[in-house]
C-alpha cells in the first residue's frame, strides 16, 4: 500500500511559479505592445501633445493630425453595439441554458457559434451589399418628424453609424452569449432547486442564476465590448469613412481601427505613420480605461453579496 505523498512547499511553489510564468508572459506581451506603440508614435506625440486628443483635423498633406472624430466614432459605435447585442446575447444564453428542451440545446449552440465563425470580411461584404441598401430604404422612409431629431438627421446614404451598429452587434452576440451560456451552465443545480423549493417562478430562478454568475456575465459582456472596439474590416466597409463627429445614426463617421486599416499601408512620411500609430495607442489607452471602469463595477457588485449572504433568501448558498 502506498501512502499519498505529503504535499510539500516545493510542490506549491512549482505550481505557482509554473503557471505564474505564463501569466507573466501574458503581461509582458501586453506591456511590449504598449511600449512599441509608444515608441513608434513618439514623433507624433512630441509634435502634437495633448492636442491630438481633441483636434478634429486629419490632413495628411498639411501633416495636421487629430484623433477626436475617431475616438467619438469608436465609442459611439461600440456602445450602440453593446446596447443592442447584450440583451439579445443574454436572452440567447438564458434560453439555451435554462429554457430550451434538451434536444434543442446542441443545435442552437452550433448556430450561435456559427455567427462567430463568419470572417469579418464576409460581414463587411454582406453589410455593403445587403444591409446598407436595406438601411438606405429605411432612411428614405423615415417620417419627417423623426428626421428632425438629431438622432436621425442627414441624407439617406445607407452607410453610417446605424449600419455599423447593426453589423457590430451581430458580430459581438456570439461571444457574449457563448461565454454567458457557459457561465450560466456552471451555476450549481442546487442553487436553482433551492429557488424552486422556495416557490420561485422560472424567471425568478433564472434571475437568481444570473445574479450568482454576475461577474462571469459582466466578463462576457466585456469580452464582447472589446471585440467591438477593435473590429476593423467590417466597420470600415459600412461606416462611410468620414471623419466627422455627429450624433446622427445616419451620418457616415470613422473609427480608430478603421482609419488605421485604411491608411497604414499607404502612409508615406514618418509623421503620418507616427500619427496613425498614436491612434493605435489612443485606442489601447481607451481599452485600459474601460477595463478599469468595468473592474470597478464588478468589484462594487461583489461587495453587497457578502452582506446578503447572511440573509435567508433565494440567494442563500447551498
Amino acid at each position: 500500500m502506498s501512502f499519498p505523498r505529503r504535499t510539500t512547499r516545493r510542490d506549491e511553489l512549482l505550481f505557482r511559479g509554473g503557471t505564474g510564468a505564463f501569466a507573466l508572459l501574458l503581461i509582458v506581451i501586453v506591456a511590449a505592445i504598449a511600449f512599441e506603440l509608444g515608441r513608434q508614435s513618439s514623433l507624433s506625440i512630441h509634435k502634437f501633445g495633448w492636442q491630438f486628443w481633441h483636434t478634429d483635423v486629419w490632413d495628411p498633406v498639411a501633416e495636421q493630425f487629430g484623433a477626436r472624430p475617431f475616438i467619438w466614432g469608436t465609442l459611439y459605435s461600440s456602445i450602440l453595439a453593446l446596447l443592442i447585442s447584450t440583451p439579445i446575447a443574454l436572452g440567447i444564453a438564458v434560453f439555451i441554458s435554462e429554457l430550451a428542451p434538451q434536444w434543442m440545446k446542441k443545435p442552437l449552440v452550433f448556430l450561435t457559434e456559427l455567427l462567430a465563425a463568419i470572417p469579418s470580411i464576409v460581414y463587411g461584404l454582406w453589410g455593403i451589399f445587403i444591409l446598407v441598401p436595406l438601411v438606405r430604404q429605411f432612411e428614405l422612409n423615415t417620417p419627417s418628424w423623426l428626421k428632425a431629431t438629431p438622432l436621425f438627421h442627414g441624407p439617406p446614404v445607407g452607410v453610417g453609424m446605424l449600419s455599423t451598429a447593426i453589423v457590430l452587434s451581430i458580430m459581438v452576440i456570439p461571444f457574449t452569449s457563448s461565454v454567458a451560456r457557459e457561465v450560466l451552465k456552471s451555476v450549481p443545480q442546487a442553487q436553482r432547486e433551492g429557488a424552486y423549493a422556495l416557490g420561485a417562478t422560472r424567471w425568478e430562478a433564472i434571475r437568481m442564476a444570473l445574479f450568482y454568475a454576475r461577474t462571469g456575465i459582466i466578463g462576457a459582456i466585456m469580452l464582447g465590448f472589446g471585440r467591438a472596439l477593435g473590429e476593423t474590416m467590417a466597420v470600415t466597409m459600412v461606416i462611410g469613412n468620414n471623419a466627422q463627429i455627429s450624433t446622427s445614426l445616419y451620418a457616415p463617421q470613422y473609427t480608430m481601427a478603421a482609419v488605421i486599416a485604411n491608411e497604414f499601408t499607404e502612409a508615406t512620411g514618418d509623421l503620418y505613420l507616427s500619427a496613425l500609430v498614436e491612434i493605435g495607442l489612443v485606442l489601447f489607452v481607451m481599452t485600459l480605461i474601460i477595463n478599469a471602469l468595468s473592474r470597478a463595477l464588478i468589484w462594487s457588485m461583489a461587495r453587497p453579496a457578502r452582506r446578503r449572504a447572511s440573509r435567508p433568501a433565494l440567494q442563500a448558498a447551498a
Binding site: 470572417p119 461565454v179 424567471w203 486599416a261
Partner: protein, 283 residues
C-alpha cells in the same frame, strides 16, 4: 393571489422574450449564411481545392495553398496560445485575489480590445523585422496573441465556477495543488474551456489584417514556416476588392470553405468533449 399571477405572467413574458432573442440572432445568420453559400457554391469545384491562384483572365484557379496555409497558421497560433491562455487562466483562478492575478486579468481584457491591425504591426516588429523576412511563423505569433485573452478569460471564469468542494476534496485526499487542478478541477471545467478555445479559433480564422504584415501571402505552394504563406482570409480579401468577376466568385468560394472549416472544427471539438464528459462522469 394577484401577486402570483403577476409573477407568473412576468415569467412567461421573459420566456417569450428570450426565445425572440434567439430568433433575432438567427435571422441575420440565416441571411449571411445563405448569402455566402449561394455565392460560394457556384465557384466551388474540385480545381478549387487542388490548384494555385491563377492570374487574371485565366479561369480555373484555386486556393489549395491558401487552405493549407490557413490550417498551418491557425495551428501555429493555437500551439502558441493554448498553453499560455490556459495556464495563465489557471493561475488567475487559483490565486484569485492576489494583485498579480488581477494584473493578468486586466492585461488579458486590454489585449482583447486591441485591434487586429495593431497586433499585426506589433508582430511585424517582433517576428518579421528582426529576421528580415515574412513568414508563416510570424503569422502564427500574431494570431496566437489574439487568441490568448479569450482562452485565458474563459478558462479563468469557468475554473472559478467549479464548486470548491471538488478542489477541496482532492486536496483533502493528499493531492498536490497541481494534481488537484490538473486532474480534478480542469477536467470539470473542460467543456467550457474548449468553448473558449473554439471561440478564439473562430475569432482569428476570419482575420486578415494581422496576417498582411506577418505571413504576407504566397501565390505559390509553400509549407515552409519560415517563408510567406498563403491564407484563405488574405486571398479572399485580395480577390474581393479586385475588379474581376471570376475573382469575386472565387472569393465567395474561399469564404464558404473558411466558414465550413471553422464549423467542422467546432463540431469535432464538441464531439470530443462530449465523449470526455461521459467518461468523466462515468468514472
Amino acid at each position: 393571489m394577484m401577486r402570483d399571477r403577476w409573477r407568473r405572467a412576468l415569467s412567461h413574458t421573459v420566456l417569450i422574450l428570450s426565445a425572440a432573442a434567439v430568433l433575432l440572432a438567427l435571422v441575420p445568420l440565416a441571411f449571411i449564411f445563405f448569402y455566402v453559400v449561394t455565392r460560394g457554391v457556384a465557384a466551388l469545384n474540385l480545381d478549387f481545392f487542388r490548384r494555385m491562384p491563377a492570374p487574371v483572365g485565366e479561369l480555373g484557379g484555386g486556393m489549395a495553398n491558401a487552405i493549407v496555409g490557413s490550417l498551418m497558421v491557425t495551428g501555429l497560433g493555437s500551439m502558441f496560445a493554448i498553453p499560455i491562455g490556459v495556464l495563465s487562466g489557471v493561475y488567475a483562478a487559483e490565486y484569485r485575489g492576489t494583485r498579480f492575478a488581477s494584473a493578468t486579468r486586466f492585461a488579458a481584457d486590454t489585449l482583447n480590445g486591441v485591434p487586429s491591425i495593431v497586433i499585426g504591426m506589433f508582430a511585424f516588429g517582433v517576428a518579421v523585422l528582426p529576421f528580415g523576412h515574412f513568414s508563416a511563423l510570424a503569422g502564427g505569433v500574431a494570431l496566437g496573441i489574439m487568441m490568448i485573452p479569450l482562452i485565458m478569460r474563459t478558462t479563468e471564469e469557468l475554473l472559478l465556477l467549479v464548486p470548491s468542494s471538488l478542489r477541496e476534496g482532492a486536496l483533502a485526499l493528499g493531492a498536490t495543488r497541481a494534481r488537484a487542478v490538473f486532474t480534478v478541477v480542469l477536467p470539470a471545467a473542460l467543456p467550457g474551456i474548449i468553448t473558449g478555445i473554439l471561440l478564439a479559433l473562430a475569432r482569428i480564422a476570419g482575420e486578415t489584417a494581422p496576417l498582411l504584415f506577418t505571413a504576407l501571402n504566397n501565390r505559390f505552394w509553400s509549407t515552409d514556416v519560415r517563408h510567406p504563406i498563403a491564407t484563405l482570409t488574405v486571398q479572399v480579401y485580395l480577390y474581393a476588392i479586385s475588379a474581376y468577376e471570376d475573382w469575386h466568385r472565387q472569393a465567395w468560394a474561399g469564404a464558404l470553405v473558411l466558414v465550413t472549416m471553422v464549423f467542422l472544427c467546432s463540431i469535432l471539438a464538441r464531439l470530443a468533449t462530449a465523449r470526455l464528459e461521459r467518461l468523466h462522469r462515468g468514472a
